[in-house]
Symmetry: C2
Subunit: 110 residues, 2 copies
Amino acid sequence: MHTDCTGEKTARPGESEIVVIAETFRLLGDPTRLKILLECLDGAVSVGEIARRIDASQSLVSHHLRLLRAARLVKGTRQSKQVYYEADDHHIRHIVSDMVAHAAESEDTQ
Amino acid sequence: MHTDCTGEKTARPGESEIVVIAETFRLLGDPTRLKILLECLDGAVSVGEIARRIDASQSLVSHHLRLLRAARLVKGTRQSKQVYYEADDHHIRHIVSDMVAHAAESEDTQ
DNA sequence: TTTACATATGAATACGTGTTGATATGTTGG
DNA sequence: CCAACATATCAACACGTATTCATATGTAAA
């Protein structure tokens, strides 16, 4: 994983970009929303099925999906009655998997 | 970047891990904390210099650094009077740079 | 030890937001 | 049309937390 780590410095974003990026990170910072996003990583899932899988109310899931959609973390496509949601792009998968690795490392090292 | 994207599914973390991961994401979800972390990406910086660079009070920076340290996002080493902080590991850089890329893509596509 | 500097901690407040319950919108079939 | 289902939106409460100010701890020089 991540073979091309040649120590390149990350370009510093401007003030307005930082706010947007932080806003996006903040969305991942809620356990319920993170669960919803995790369910959307392996393919398109309907709202109702997400609610069932993570054991949350339909209203709550819909609220969170609205936020995730606004930040382009997920995208939804209507198919008759139901709306199927899935992760927007590949960056999201990398971000989540990197964070999982970080958390696992912390537990190991500690 | 990220050349080895062979469509592998991300392993689903358990409930307790999800809470930890969300907690870590949440820390990145505050603009001030994100700025602090960004300053720590390119090398070790003292608390006072961070405060000066991002134009925040010393107390606030110290409070945030305490949280970032607890989540192993940064690590600090004392050198006489000052304490120098830097990003804990390489995952953090990837996570941040991926999110920057995601934000940039969103603006382009939109 | 005293003085000055750098960092950490404590308490209090103001603000945002996750969650719930009820309701509205949209879609398909009878 | 109406009824049944899926999703979205609205209003309101409860709770966490980012920030500030004051103070404590730690470190080095005089």
